[in-house]
Symmetry: C2
Subunit: 187 residues, 2 copies
DNA sequence: TCGCTTAACGCAAATTATTTGTGTTAAGGT
DNA sequence: ACCTTAACACAAATAATTTGCGTTAAGCGA
């Protein structure tokens, strides 16, 4: 018994949603983000445009939804044996994924989403993953900063520069952020 | 002799641009950002839609352009007599402007802009204003952090929370950011 | 398992937004 | 004052979005 009262999550609906998500991802590889349209996605996915409009409302919402799905991690965070190492590895991986042209536009799509749940979930993903790292640290008996502080000191600056700066941040910059974050009190 | 080679910046062009900007600002007060359209703006401004499409390309670009104009400060930064006071005043003012529903959507519009110059100028405005504050601090003989560090420590977290967090940051949070930023070495 | 209800879809017509071709106006330079 | 042509208005052509309605099948309960 599902919790939802009437909203259908499986069967054909699930297949349609998946094929539309796939279509977006496929089109985004060969086309510029600016010239992919709803009818284009619909044709690629083998559905009618009205299906997409009825479900997502507009292209921006759909793109944000797909981007969010991509942010959802499928791989485990590598355990380097120490919190500083774990954090550095995650931060570098995040930079690598998000500073690319595609990652950048995905970040923009989510940021632009007027649905506050969408952008919120994006932030939740980072916080959740950081909590995994701090849990590990605690289990090891290490000293560590709270996840919120890591967000402020490392990920917020990184995301800010990716979105607003003309030049993408490099690895050295991220290392600096992590080092500075770790050389402080745990509040 | 203007530097531009053929691009017209005055006379009718300037009047049309201004009336379109005014129209956007007016419409954004009574309508939700999601349901203002190009033809709607055109009618309000007394121009034809094709004028807007030819000049800005699409609604998103126009909205980002108008938002950027609004970010451009018309008032002077208040001189409180010390760098900590100046910075706190500016940070609080920024929070006040950007955490409103309108400010939030303006920030999103600029962030979503695929024109890298647009988002870049948004960041430049902050850095430029911070440089004014550090120049004052230097003239007073105060110790102060470099503008880039203030961006990382104060404005990046603030903007990140405004865009991605479900709940807007409050004044206490910003005060904490400023305090923490100032209690560090000037790198 | 078998119906029942209705969410989600396809299809096509109606509406609205965007692009494009052409003529006109006036900004910026000579 | 006189060119050149950027920027605009207008309207026709195209493309995107919305909407009405019939059909399919997901989720639910007997």
């Amino acid at each position: 018994m599902t919790i939802h009262k009437g909203i259908r999550t499986g069967g054909r609906s699930a297949r349609v949603q998946q094929s539309i998500h796939e279509a977006v991802k496929l089109l985004l590889e060969s086309h510029d983000r600016a010239d992919v349209t709803v009818p284009m996605v619909a044709q690629q996915a083998g559905v009618t445009p009205s299906t997409i409009y009825r479900r997502w409302g507009d292209l921006a919402t759909l793109l944000a939804d797909v981007a969010l799905e991509r942010f959802e991690p499928d791989d485990k965070l590598p355990d380097t044996g120490s919190f500083p190492g774990d954090l550095m590895a995650y931060a570098e991986q995040y930079l690598d994924e998000m500073s690319s042209s595609l990652g950048r536009s995905m970040l923009r799509d989510v940021a632009a989403s007027d649905d506050s749940q969408c952008a919120g979930r994006c932030a939740d993903i980072i916080t959740t993953r950081l909590t995994i790292l701090t849990d590990r640290a605690q289990a090891r008996g290490e000293d560590y900063p709270p996840p919120d502080q890591v967000v402020d000191r490392v990920f917020a600056p990184m995301v800010y520069r990716i979105i607003f700066s003309k030049t993408a941040p490099d690895v050295d910059y991220v290392r600096q952020l992590v080092d500075q974050c770790l050389s402080e009190k745990s509040a």
